[in-house]
């Protein structure tokens, strides 16, 4: 037992990682698997007036598009709080709502779900 302390121990998970046999999320393959992408705000501070997803819904391979209105009352807001001492901690939660102002680039606008992509990644 004394020889265990300080001795080099090889990790147990490495064999599948070093041979490319591990399953990361994107490696999962299931029948009927769909891929979702989140459309995020490209403006640092803006008022979201309208979301029009008609064209997106008709795009090839798109199964569904969800906006804030669709998931209102079904999805909790994401609390955004950073307690910096002596600063006013803005606690406005990130909300997928057409009514709230977006505070920061990256707030989600909508989630299209689509069938497996054909060799090109959607952003």
């Amino acid at each position: 037992m004394a020889t265990l302390f300080g001795s080099g121990i090889k990790r147990r998970e490495d064999p599948r990682l070093i041979t490319g046999k591990a399953t990361y999320t994107d490696d999962v393959k299931l029948p009927g698997l769909l891929y979702a992408a989140v459309l995020r705000s490209t403006y640092a501070h803006a008022k979201l007036r309208k979301v029009d997803v008609a064209k997106a819904k008709q795009a090839t391979g798109v199964v569904a598009v969800y906006t804030g209105a669709d998931v209102k009352d079904k999805v909790n807001t994401v609390p955004c709080a950073w307690n910096v001492p002596n600063c006013d901690p803005r606690r406005t939660p990130l909300s997928p709502s057409t009514k709230s102002a977006t505070w920061a680039t990256g707030s989600p606008w909508s989630w299209p779900s689509r069938a497996p992509r054909r060799g090109m990644r959607s952003t």
Binding site: I18, T19, G20, A22, D26, D27, G119
Partner: protein
Amino acid sequence: MKRSITLEVNGVARTAEVEPRALLAYVLRDQLDLTGTHIGCDTSQCGACTVHIDGRAVKSCTVLAMQAEGHAITTIEGLSGNGGGGGGLHRLQQAFWEQHGLQCGFCTPGMIMTAADLLAHKPKPTEAEIRHALEGNLCRCTGYQNIVAAIQAAAGAR
């Protein structure tokens, strides 16, 4: 729009129906079930997709699948047993394991493929040469120190 192509992957002839715009990384992963090659960026910067084409390391996200027809492709799955003496792990894989050259493992196949090309053409690289060779491979976990150590160990193990 799709064309049938034949790719030699890890010594085996594989056929796939691909659009002309299909990238090799996606064909390997989605159609040939070789998911050891990873996609970590949209910009060809990260190197997680590194494979060998005719023995040279390339980023498979920046190669059209149709470009690879007629060439020998080697992925991380094809490395086991090569250069390591029969079956089992390649000396680079063994070294990454022993030197703790990986944490999450996502960048590791790309790191190993780049290192394999380096060692095949420069068997005793200096630390500076190793770090230079790895400039196209990004790691978010390790800080690169043990990756370099692993490659040095594999080079010394010869």
